[in-house]
Symmetry: C2
Amino acid sequence: MRRVAVAGVGMTKFGPSEKSQVEMFAEAAMEAINGSNIKPRDIQALFMGNVLGDFTEGQMNIAPMCASELGFSPGTPASKMEGACASASVAIRDAFMWVASGYYDVVLVGGTERCTVMGTPLATRTFAMASDSRYEGFSGITFPGVFAMVAHLYAKKYGIPLAKLKERMALVAVKNHKNGTMNPLAQFQKEITVEKVLSGFVVADPLQLLDCCPFSDGAAAMVLASEEMVKKMTDKPVYILGAAQGSSGPLYRQKDITRIMAREASAAQAYRMAGLTPADIDVCELHDCFTIAEIVASEGLGFFEPGKGSEAIERGETAIGGRIAINPSGGLKAKGHPIGATGAAQGYEIVKQLRGECGGRQVEGAKTGITDTLGGDLATIVNIIYGI
Amino acid sequence: MRRVAVAGVGMTKFGPSEKSQVEMFAEAAMEAINGSNIKPRDIQALFMGNVLGDFTEGQMNIAPMCASELGFSPGTPASKMEGACASASVAIRDAFMWVASGYYDVVLVGGTERCTVMGTPLATRTFAMASDSRYEGFSGITFPGVFAMVAHLYAKKYGIPLAKLKERMALVAVKNHKNGTMNPLAQFQKEITVEKVLSGFVVADPLQLLDCCPFSDGAAAMVLASEEMVKKMTDKPVYILGAAQGSSGPLYRQKDITRIMAREASAAQAYRMAGLTPADIDVCELHDCFTIAEIVASEGLGFFEPGKGSEAIERGETAIGGRIAINPSGGLKAKGHPIGATGAAQGYEIVKQLRGECGGRQVEGAKTGITDTLGGDLATIVNIIYGI
């Protein structure tokens, strides 16, 4: 297995867009290709995530459409992965293997999604399709409902008064919005306060409006290359040190939804592959679809003991400059969450951080980073570890 | 790169089913797992195709649901590929690489789809989403329309009177229905005549009802293993000798829709990888979504010169016992076409043929076989070459 590196990265501004998914992807992809000092014809294969293109634009089989938009030859395979909100990360792990194996030297990977055209009711219904449809989805469970349950169970299990947990959850939103103000590509560019979070309308008790990430449009892309090739493409290569994926299936198979089995399995694999421990990681982009999701993910990734994640927020340990900077990009919460693109946008941020190109939100001296992407209600987790 | 083999295979009966997509997949998968003399816990990763699970059952992110149904551990990655009707073949090629690279020793691959629950109007609308949605889909183009154009252009280009071409197209349907009567898993189990095809109602001129494959439900699966492992699993391993994929994008990028650029690129790659030529192939399962599609595919795969495929049908060269047996399973036309499962069902048939387990439809002495799967209106092609 060869070492695999990221050469160039690209990303659109997140938020409502008038562009089609193919156009957004082409924009992000051309930035990644240009940043790799290559031409589109140098790309040997495309792997990408997309989830709801059929519902939003009537576009299935979007990968060859994107390949065509970029002018790739008919001999260039273009594959789409769908793993709900983890789709782009599934694609990154897969693309990694095609280069690591020695089969390809240079591939394009990423994701694109347009959620805002659906409106909230249809978006909510279609997102809920990532739940088990036989026994759970039709009962009315939606993702805010799942994470509301996680919050209640977390408070109960660890003996944290719900009001205290809600304040700490609010601090996650405050931190990520603050980070977002320093990210010109973030959907939200304004700071918020704990008071504002706690006075928002209730989405699914105890989650209030600002505990929830928005619906977003956007795309992100990366060029992956073999170690030999990347040296000709950039003087700032970022290596993929670990790539792992886990799957838990329906909620009814979970023993304890405050600890996601797929994440613990996936993170352990990724750290083992990279030869690193959580203490070695400088920066993390994780799946904060809801504020409580960031807290449980920070524990699942091994940064804090189970039950200790919410205290860590309060102590500022996850802020930029803290013990482990979490979601310096603003996260799903403030940067936005175009679901099929999210994993690639997380990778974009880590690569930019490790290159020292993040301006006001730069995590000083960052040399290693991890992404964590969740698909469905705890069903799919992908973790990628990057390093320089 | 290591050699990769198929250990066990499984397939449900195709046709309308009361089972869910997850249940059908589990049925096919358990047959493949049992046939490999292993337990579900021995599977290290799952790769599968599914296309319309969200429309038909409200089920996205189906791969971890299938992994859960089969009892796989949370550390077992489960990934879904969507490449329209080629989805399962995209998954097979991908799974192949994960074993060839040395990363996994034993993986499960396949596909599942339930089309009949939608009814023809919704099925037609959703299938059409695999066309380019920006410039083509909304104009009203559907797949029967695309292949009707292919037929007209083919007749014109090669100077074949349309009535003569229609007769030869009808012979494709007659052959595949005859083959289907010898396949207990085929959706249609009755022979038809040229007269019956030519008296069917017109779907999209010149295509009549029996020129078109049906909507189907079904699933198929295969266990792939490294050469070292497969020897412990079965005494009838079938090797994957070549695996290639091409992509053409929207119709407007095609120069000549009677010759699909993605297929010519993909087939050339697959033959090169296998070190074989079309003349070396004994049996072929190709994408006969319409009768004319079989004719152009038989040429694109190099069995006949462009423009000569329809004469070959007339001479019986593609029948079982002919020069190159095409679609001995009955093909999409008679076996059925549960879109996300089709590529795996083609692989199932080739493996069964190479093992000599096909009874009345056995291609005597078959040692090599190729599958050809088309996704979208000419957008994605995957070719897999198998051998013993």
